[in-house]
């Protein structure tokens, strides 16, 4: 799998095909003497802001604290919850309604 081409910015759906959001960031773990491993996918406005410019991350964090209805600025999906990655989406073993991504809907 090409991680950036095939995973980053991909649509995420839950087990019932409900849209959760997009893969805004990918968190990996560096271990001594072993290849880095993907540990989680990250969603959220703050993550996108960081990709545009590092300085925007702090601005986005402040905006989140002041106005956001979401419980957290970032939502991390552990790689162990990823069921499938195909050319259309990333399917996760979580119900979209239970995620932070759905706080806007409540």
């Amino acid at each position: 799998m090409h991680v950036i081409r095939e995973l980053l910015d991909m649509q995420i759906v839950d087990r019932d095909d409900e849209h959760v959001g997009r893969v805004d960031g990918i968190v990996a773990e560096l271990r001594n003497g072993e290849p880095p491993v993907v540990v989680s996918l990250e969603l959220g406005f703050v993550t996108i802001a960081r990709r545009i410019h590092r300085g925007l991350e702090a601005v986005a964090e402040r905006m989140h604290k002041r106005w956001s209805v979401r419980r957290s600025a970032r939502y991390r999906i552990p790689w162990s919850d990823v069921m499938e990655v195909n050319t259309h989406h990333v399917r996760i073993d979580v119900r979209a309604e239970e995620t932070v991504a759905f706080d806007w809907e409540r």
Binding site: H2, V3, I4, I26, V27, A28, R31, P35, P36
Partner: protein, 90 residues
């Protein structure tokens, strides 16, 4: 075992330099494989060919190229302990 977390998307576009500080190319993609239930990064794709590879084959055909091979750097040859300044190990 010491572990440290970082963002893979932070690596994208970073210039890789060799031990003498010479530019090798920028990281545009990386290939991963499933190993023991984990997704392990096995190689980094570096240089303009890697960027063209990311753009896709249809775009390459448009500019008259049918096949390009990016510079593939195995995971153990790239020191990413500082993700902002990846260094090619000799």
């Amino acid at each position: 075992m010491t572990t440290r977390r970082f963002r893979l998307d932070d690596l994208v576009g970073r210039m890789v330099r060799d031990a003498e500080g010479r530019s090798v190319g920028r990281i545009y993609d990386m290939r991963a494989e499933e190993r023991n239930g984990e997704l392990a990064i096995v190689e980094y794709h570096v240089g303009s060919a890697a960027l063209l590879e990311r753009v896709g084959l249809s775009m390459l055909r448009l500019i008259g190229l049918h096949r390009i091979t990016p510079c593939k750097v195995p995971w153990d040859r790239l020191d990413i302990s500082d993700p902002d300044h990846p260094v090619l190990r000799s």
